[in-house]
Symmetry: C2
Subunit: 169 residues, 2 copies
């Protein structure tokens, strides 16, 4: 009780800067402002880009495993893939051996588009990390990857599942 009222004179910048939720939110918002421009021509925007990333770089997979991979609902995945397929960027093909499931594969156009957007996003990232030195950028990326990595991807299970379908994994 002999102390002054807690934080009465503290600066707002310090208070918000101590809130990691606020820092992450502001950082993501700042990045999204730039990224939305890069992905605006892509059906589904940034989420469409993530689907394209997973389809282009992971093992060939079904809609459901893709949804689980990206932490999306399967109803959302349906709409995203509708848009990407209508734009000719990915293709739905039946899974031999399970006629319920559909295999999702990137087309050549989809791969090219993915690379185009990826390069634009790279510039957005450069701009975001501008206040850091090259060394610090690497450190930040490494630390962020470790923090984000704790809710693990379970990519192994996905590849195993997909390998039942194709062997080029």
């Amino acid at each position: 009780m002999s102390q002054p009222v807690v934080d009465r004179g503290a600066d707002l910048r310090d208070a918000l800067g101590a809130d990691i939720g606020w820092l992450l939110g502001q950082t993501l918002r700042s990045y999204m402002r730039m990224a939305d421009g890069a992905a605006q021509d892509l059906p589904g925007g940034m989420r469409g880009y993530q689907v394209l990333t997973a389809a282009a770089n992971g093992c060939v997979s079904t809609q459901l495993s893709l949804a689980r991979e990206l932490g999306l609902d399967r109803t959302v995945m349906t709409h995203l893939i509708d848009g990407l397929e209508a734009a000719g960027l990915i293709q739905r093909t039946p899974v031999p051996g399970d006629r319920r499931a559909k295999q999702v594969a990137v087309t050549d156009a989809g791969r090219a588009e993915w690379q185009r957007v990826r390069d634009l996003l790279g510039r957005a990232e450069d701009h975001l990390l501008d206040p850091l030195s090259p060394d610090d950028r690497g450190a930040f990326r490494t630390l962020l990857r470790r923090v984000a990595g704790q809710q693990k991807l379970d990519v192994g299970a996905m590849c195993q599942m997909a390998s039942e379908v194709r062997e080029d994994c």
Copy 2:
């Protein structure tokens, strides 16, 4: 053209781990899952908490400057403050000298509630940063603060404005 098709054999984890937007999104989502529990009793949830943070730690301010500070629309701010005021956590008082504006001040109950939620969020943050060593946690916080800090707060302008109203700033 003599190169193999780009990224054909790359792992999905690597592809997503190279996407800073995805990393930030996953990290924020992971944090929010824990934080929502901490702020669930607070009107407005996490955004309500941020309003409370700004009101408790910054200079006394109007709704509009608070909204600008937090990057919210002023219509959203109205609803958030409606909830917080109904819960007795903050108080709207007229600004002497400008009868259009309303001053937002934290009540004693609001300050106590802010501290309670802040402590819970601290635990969520500890859990989020669990995969890092103590040194790395500090480094991550510092780097993130610098990255987030680039869209600057303009706290100075806010304090100046508020000091026209009160002098305890």
